[in-house]
Amino acid sequence: MWRDAAVMAGKDLRIEVRSRVATNQVAPFAFLVLILFAFALDPDRGVLGTAAAGLFWVAVLFCALLAIQRAFAVEASDGARDNLRMSGLDPAGMFLGKASAIAAELALLEIILGAGVVILYNRSLHGPVLLVVTCVLATIGLAAAGTLYGALAAGLRVRETLLPLLLLPVVAPVLLAATRASEAALGGSPGDGWPWVRVLGVFAVIYVAFGVVAFGPLLEESS
């Protein structure tokens, strides 16, 4: 399973490195979202700085949607999905591989966005441990739920509009918990953030486990 996961993740990341869609399209989009937030919330009133944690995670969610769409779009062409099905790779491994590739892309995006928030919104970083743990767990949760719903919506004609509707309410607790934890970290009271980290942990564990079990049947049946 782990070997298959590594093969799958390697394949997806290689595609991303070669096609540069993540770096040329998704990352600039993330940057753009940060600028748009500044237009929407007047920077002079200080709202931007106070809401930085929430804006950061909303931007991450939007980018995650793009990354997930992209991860399954590459399987849609040239019957790649059928080849995948016949490749003999373990479905659980495939799920973990695909989720790890998405998680890696998201982690990169979070670093870019984080830098953007620090520079553009004039926030300084505190509580680095809490921040890193929050980001890691939230990313795993987002990637796992995203991969699951991406596979669910893949191959459907209406996937572009369906995926956000399916995924965003499910990851609502991630947005909530990650925002609170990051706020606690940025606000200099990391103690308040740790209960939220537990929520993120539980979410990540549940969706990774569910995805491992459900990915096989999903891949098998959907065409």
């Binding site: 669910l152 509707l165 607790p173 939220w196 569910f210 999903l218 959907s222």
Partner: protein, 252 residues
């Protein structure tokens, strides 16, 4: 496939108990000391909220039964879908009645209170599920996809609930499901029984709607199956006789 006698009796019973509920809620029970007449909304709000949970429970159960190999049958998926649809209606009613009650009692239509927020998320979660159900495809693949989506949404509910509860809590504590108060209600006698009657009559209504929706889903399913078979048979007949001049020629 007409609805049976039992279903009709159920329908009549639902209407009768709802009429009785209206009399109890609007005439017989006294206004509340604090909430005045707004309390009468509770006789609908609490029952529809209960029904919402029951309906989504049935959806989860139907989805599990479909996914479990031994009980795999498309009817479970149809039941899950029917129940989700009815559940979404009840969720909408819960939100609307709660909102009206909130306006009169708290003075606002909406507050970001824990239960309101998690109910709103629940609403959107299952709207997404219903949207997914509408997407076509092979019936068995569709059923499997639906069931997995329903379960993926259901396992999210406790997390949503817990996290939103931590986020903020302003809503009244549940006054019926508490074991102690269930046996020794601290709300006025006739009010307590009206809420109970409300729950019973809404459950009757829920079952009636569910049965009808399920029946309709089965008919749709059959229509789809037989419709396809008939279309194939027609095209074959056309090919044999060589009289394929209809608009459908060459489609299959």
């Amino acid at each position: 496939m007409k609805s049976g006698v039992g279903t009709r009796i159920l329908g009549v019973a639902a209407v009768a108990s709802l009429a009785l509920l209206a009399v109890m809620a609007l005439v017989i029970t006294p206004p509340d000391v604090n909430q005045q007449d707004a309390v009468r909304l509770i006789y609908i709000h609490v029952p529809v909220a209960t029904c919402m949970y029951v309906a989504f429970g049935v959806t989860a159960l139907g989805s599990i039964l479909y996914l479990w190999r031994r009980t795999r049958d498309r009817k479970w998926d149809l039941l899950a879908g029917a129940s989700a649809e009815v559940g979404v209606v009840f969720t909408g009613l819960t939100l609307v009645t709660g909102s009206i009650w909130g306006r009169t009692t708290w003075g606002v239509w909406w507050t970001w209170d824990a239960r309101l927020t998690s109910t709103a998320i629940l609403f959107v979660l299952f709207l997404g599920y219903l949207a997914l159900r509408r997407v076509g495809g092979d019936p068995d693949a569709r059923a499997k996809r639906n069931s997995i989506a329903a379960l993926a949404a259901c396992i999210d509910l406790p997390i949503v609930h817990k996290s939103v509860e931590w986020w903020r809590t302003l809503h009244q504590k549940s006054s019926l499901l508490d074991e102690e108060t269930f046996l020794h209600p601290h709300i006025h006698g006739s009010m307590y029984w009206t809420v109970m009657l409300g729950i019973v009559s809404m459950l009757l209504l829920l079952s009636w709607l569910l049965i009808q929706r399920y029946r309709l889903a089965k008919l749709e399913d059959r229509f789809e199956d037989e419709g396809l078979e008939r279309a194939i048979a027609e095209r074959r007949a056309e090919a044999l006789t060589g009289t394929g001049t209809g608009p459908g020629t060459g489609m299959l």
